[in-house]
């Protein structure tokens, strides 16, 4: 194993094992935070090393399916981003999480290890492995404050919704096995038809679920029940982002099918527009940010659909930095001011200037204001969309305008002078240095990562990943003008807040009505069937055995035993009869016979006279009879 391969292994194993140790032992409660921050820092360094060295690792795992990790250009971009955001979020959490630190940090480390494996996974088993561990840790992290049932419920919804989509990966694995191309992600486009289509569809469903694209979006709304650092990591840089990432990863497969690319592109745009409206309608900051995450991921999904992988990857990374920043700022305000209600957050930006300025950089980047990062990364995607279809491009511009609108809504809210603003009940009134420092770094990322989408770096990325190296100045200018105009408009206009949009299109209600409730009804019906029909049938069959036995016993008594009795009786009678026969018939017969024999003997003695002449006469008589008999026999023939 070379040094680079060792670094890759360590990048995954270090946070994974330290996280498991922290999550399972309560003795390290006091030192959990420093251990976790140090681990995350080291992991970030390792991620930087592997991003430069680009190692690959493969170990036999299942028959014909290795556990393969490979740091290619896409992973080299994504893995350091995940590690760095995880590190910054844990620094922030050091100042804000005060109970069950070992459990919190342990789960966060396991999660980041899983996200790093996802980013570098090169085979389906490795991908699915990390993919579902991300889902399970997100469940535990969203429900971190387990004494409150609604938070645990939100975790459950998140896990079950994403796992529903994950079933697509199981189908994809089976199809890959049948398709004969093996389970390496890069070989999937070579699978035979129709299996290639099944693989693409399965992976796409799983990715859309994780990325909270329509119709799965609702789980992310509930996921905001988790601590803010959780949202900052899971719902910006990893997990949700990994959904978009996966589609970028399998872009060649999507392209190979012919249909999957356009479907992904349109689904992404539909999500970006609709969830943009949803974001604009939100009244709580974290809900607004969550909906905006879904909408922004729509651009990444679009990128995968139109083959703009470099633009999509740049957008993913820049958005991670931006959104992590905004979630952390929201968390800082929630802790300090005790509210995340936009109306009550008025002027919060003035109270803590560092937080306010950093968050504003984030909001401006989110709005697509030039020259901040998301402005250019988004246009790198839209340029490819324009080539695919002008309608797609138009939808993309609409989604961009909506981004500016909801970002503006949040931005103006925190700077507007308001009455009644101030620390609420439950607020600490403080934002510590540990909570402010990561925001500055992330703000620098939100602004500076624009280099990813501008020459010369964009050309290099496009060459290795595929996509557009350069975007025309007209398009860049157009989107910048639209963003600025909409942002300014929001200063004057009140954002529309229709109920259907505020309630996330009622998606969760629909999911409950269409999936959850029928499933529970089915479960109860089957359980009743099991108890009342199936088990009762068995018991009735068993109960029939004693009944049968009783019938048999009766038959035994009446028929068999009676028969035996009757037979015995008959035998008795027969015996008596026989005795009588014996006495009256046989015995007498014997006696008669004996009498006759006696008489015969008597008769036989008569000729024995002792006189010779009489014997001679007897001999002549017998001879005569013999001659006559012979004569008769001879004549008769």
């Amino acid at each position: 194993m070379t040094g680079a391969e060792g670094a890759l292994l360590a990048m995954v194993l270090l946070p994974g094992s330290m996280g498991a140790a922290l999550a399972l032992t309560r003795r390290w409660e006091r030192v959990a935070t420093p251990i976790a921050v140090a681990t995350a820092g080291l992991t970030t360094a390792l991620a930087a090393v592997v991003a430069l060295a680009r190692p690959a690792l493969s170990a036999p795992f299942l028959a014909g399916a290795d556990f393969a990790l490979e740091v290619d250009a896409l992973a080299a971009l994504t893995a350091p981003m995940i590690a760095a955001v995880a590190f910054l979020v844990l620094v922030f959490a050091a100042g804000s999480i005060r109970e069950s630190r070992a459990r919190f940090h342990g789960l966060m480390l396991i999660f980041s290890a899983a996200a790093l494996v996802t980013a570098s996974a090169a085979s389906i088993p490795a991908l699915l492995f990390a993919w579902e561990v991300m889902g399970a840790t997100s469940y535990a992290l969203i429900g971190f404050w387990w004494r409150e049932p609604r938070r645990v419920s939100a975790g459950l919804t998140a896990f079950l919704t994403t796992r529903t989509a994950d079933l697509g990966l199981y189908v994809a694995a089976g199809a890959a096995l049948a398709g004969g191309a093996g389970m390496a992600l890069s070989d999937l486009p070579a699978a035979t038809d129709p299996w290639r289509h099944v693989v693409a569809a399965g992976i796409m469903v799983a990715a859309l679920g994780k990325a909270a694209q329509l119709p799965f979006s609702f789980w992310l709304s509930g996921a905001m029940q988790g601590p803010s650092p959780v949202s900052a990591l899971l719902h910006s840089a990893a997990m949700v982002a990994m959904g978009g990432f996966l589609l970028l990863r399998v872009e060649p497969l999507l392209a190979a099918t012919g249909w999957a690319g356009p479907v992904a592109a349109w689904l992404g745009m539909l999500t970006a527009v609709l969830m943009g409206i949803v974001a604009l309608a939100q009244r709580e900051l974290k809900q607004l940010l969550a909906a905006s995450t879904v909408a922004q991921l729509g651009f990444v999904v679009l990128a995968a659909g139109v083959g703009a992988v470099s633009g999509g990857a740049a957008h993913l990374v820049a958005h991670a930095s931006t959104k992590a920043l905004l979630f952390l700022a929201a968390g800082a305000w929630l802790t300090a001011w005790g509210t995340e209600d936009l109306a009550r957050l008025r002027g919060v930006g003035r109270r803590w200037r560092v937080v306010g300025v950093c968050a504003s950089v984030g909001a401006l980047a989110l709005a697509g204001i030039a020259p901040l990062s998301l402005w250019a990364t988004k246009d790198a995607v839209l340029a490819a969309a324009l080539e695919a279809s002008p309608w797609l491009y138009a939808a993309g511009l609409l989604a961009s305008a909506l981004s500016a609108a909801y970002a503006g809504k949040a931005l103006w809210a925190i700077w507007r002078r308001g009455d009644g603003a101030g620390v609420r009940a439950g607020g600490t009134g403080q934002v510590g240095a540990l909570e402010q420092a990561p925001l500055v770094v992330l703000a620098a990322g939100a602004a500076g990562l624009v280099v990813l989408a501008l020459p010369p770096l964009s050309r290099a990325l496009a060459q290795t990943l595929g996509g557009h190296g350069e975007v025309s100045a007209v398009e860049l200018a157009l989107s910048a003008v639209i963003a600025a105009a909409v942002l300014l408009l929001l200063l004057r206009l009140r954002a529309p807040e229709p109920r259907w949009a505020r309630e996330w299109l009622g998606l969760e209600r629909i999911a409950h009505a269409v999936v959850v409730r029928p499933s529970l009804s089915l479960a109860h019906a089957l359980a009743r069937f099991d108890d009342h029909v199936l088990d009762r049938t068995v018991m009735a069959a068993a109960g029939a055995v004693p009944v049968l036995a009783r019938i048999a016993a009766r038959a035994d008594d009446r028929i068999l035993d009676g028969g035996v009795d009757a037979t015995a009786h008959a035998a008795d009678v027969t015996g008596q009869l026989a005795a009588r026969v014996d006495d009256d018939g046989v015995d007498r017969g014997v006696e008669i016979l004996a009498g006759r024999v006696r008489r015969l003997g008597h008769l036989a003695r008569i000729p024995q006279t002792g006189a010779i002449h009489q014997y001679f006469l007897q001999a002549v008589a017998v001879l005569t009879i013999g001659v006559v008999a012979w004569f008769v026999y001879a004549v008769m023939g």
């Binding site: 579902e132 459950l156 079950l160 199981y170 499933s519 199936l534 068993a542």
Partner: protein, 498 residues
């Protein structure tokens, strides 16, 4: 005496000694049980280290001694990649039970004797290479379990034990009928398993072959159990003691699924292929039905019992798919069989852990009713953590053995028969029901019977912990197990394809 015979008869000898000497004190009896089980584990470890794959239709550590020569039945034992993992899992589960029962106050000497007896006959089933020997051990295990449930159970134990006994005993009679069918059809008549596998006596008579397979499948389906023969399982589990439930779920159920791979598939390949779709259907129904009925349960033990129906359904599904012979599907079918055997081991480890944990509940608060608890993670954090780990393991999360099993089962089965994908919601429903149970029992405000619930004690930790740790080991480093299983499943697939 060969190694395998030692492994089978050592616990039986221990059982006789314990049963015959009333002067043995409770503490000595308990520790003697642990000691014998530990020695067994060491012996099986030696077996594992020295094991080399014997090849198709051959056995390692083979021993054959004439027994009933009149019917060509012998004392014939041996292991291969299908049975060795189950032998190992059995010894581990019994050791965990021995440790768990270290504080058990009710007639410890007799209980130890009974469990050692059960261990011996259970191991006998998995190493038997003769149908009569298999049947004898199979039935003796039913007898042993009857006494465990009836003697140490709670609730309606006598009735549940009787139901269990009669139902599974009836199943075993169907099995015997099938065995006799095989014996009669073979020329020369024999009960020897490798000989019958080599002869495939009923290959040319589809009707008789189908009937004999039906008898064997019904017998095994009762024991496994699959829908609709499963209704003895929930009451037996609910009323059995924790250790009894653990052994019942982990070991006795596997005798059913093991019978498929040891007897039904290799001896009746023609019939198995003809009826493969029916087997797949039984598997799919068991997966979904078991999962949904489990979802509706309010009693923790009944819920886990129904998830066993679901988990056994995956095995049946995969084995059915392995009978769907198609061009170039050899590898996929082999993957499915490997997944099924891993599932037998995995389910044994995880479900034994869950039933032992459920026993803690009965022990502390006297009820399995999940609605009677709430916020249990507060007073019993270690218990909550271990239960959560067990639940995630059972729902097939990667990192645990269940994932290795279910991923291969589904990948292999879907590749052979795409329609098997309709069983996939099974893993979703199990996820839902375990998370709901976790939420109900362990989270929220601490209420009901939760306040004052004592956390796990050392012996409980040391019985359940290693089971789950092994599940993690298999989940992270599956090659340890798969190196043993894969050659055997490839051999089985080629035997079925004959």
């Amino acid at each position: 005496m060969s190694m395998l015979s030692l492994i089978v008869f050592l616990p039986l000898a221990g059982a006789i000694v314990l049963a015959a000497m009333p002067t043995i004190g409770p503490a000595v009896a308990r520790w003697a049980w642990v000691a014998v089980s530990a020695v067994e584990l060491v012996l099986v470890g030696v077996l594992w280290v020295g094991y080399e794959d014997p090849g198709q239709n051959a056995l390692a550590y083979e021993q054959q001694v004439p027994w009933i020569p009149g019917v060509n039945s012998s004392y014939h034992v041996g292991v291969d990649g299908l049975s060795l993992p189950l032998v190992a899992m059995t010894t581990i589960v019994f050791l965990a039970c021995a440790v768990y029962a270290l504080r058990q106050p009710d007639r410890p000497r007799i209980q130890a004797a009974l469990f050692l007896f059960l261990q011996g006959v259970s191991l006998g089933v998995f190493v038997a290479a003769d149908l009569i020997l298999f049947f004898v051990f199979f039935d003796l295990s039913i007898v042993g379990m009857y006494f465990v449930i009836a003697g140490w159970g709670h609730g309606n134990a006598a009735r549940s034990a009787l139901k269990f006994f009669l139902y599974t005993f009836l199943g075993s009679l169907a099995l015997l009928l099938g065995f006799i069918g095989l014996y009669v059809a073979a020329a020369p008549h024999t009960f020897d398993i490798p000989e019958l596998v080599a002869a495939t006596p009923l290959d040319d008579s589809p009707l008789t072959g189908g009937l004999v397979l039906a008898a064997i499948v019904v017998g095994l389906a009762v024991k496994t159990p699959t829908v609709p023969f499963h209704t003895w399982l929930p009451p037996a589990h609910t009323d059995a003691p924790a250790t009894g439930s653990a052994v019942l779920a982990a070991v006795l159920l596997k005798m059913g699924t093991y019978g498929f791979v040891r007897i039904a598939m290799p001896m009746l390949p023609e019939a198995w292929r003809s009826w493969a779709w029916a087997i797949v259907a039984i598997g799919i129904v068991s997966v979904l039905y078991g999962a949904f009925v489990a979802l509706a349960q309010t009693d923790l033990k009944r819920m886990v019992a129904y998830t066993s129906v679901n988990h056994m359904g995956y095995i049946v599904l995969a084995l059915g798919a392995a009978g769907l012979v198609a061009e170039g599907a050899e590898q996929a079918r082999s993957v499915a069989v490997t997944g099924a055997v891993v599932q037998m081991v995995s389910h044994g480890l995880i479900t034994a852990a869950l039933f032992l944990l459920a026993g803690v509940m009965q022990d502390r608060a006297g009820t399995y009713d999940m609605g009677s608890y709430g916020g249990l993670a507060g007073p019993a954090p270690r218990y909550a953590a271990l239960f959560a780990v067990g639940a995630f393991a059972s729902l097939g999360l990667p990192g645990f053995s269940g994932f290795i099993a279910e991923f291969q089962i589904f990948a292999g089965s879907i590749a052979v028969a795409p329609v098997t994908a309709i069983a996939l919601p099974g893993i979703l429903v199990t996820a839902a029901l375990f998370l709901r149970a976790l939420q109900q029992v362990f989270t929220g405000p601490t209420e009901g019977r939760s306040p004052g619930f004592a956390d796990l004690r050392v012996r409980e930790l040391w019985s359940v912990g290693p089971l789950l740790a092994l599940s993690v080991l298999i989940g992270v480093l599956p090659r340890v197990l798969l190196e043993v299983i894969e050659p055997a499943s490839a051999a089985l697939v080629s035997l079925v394809g004959r």
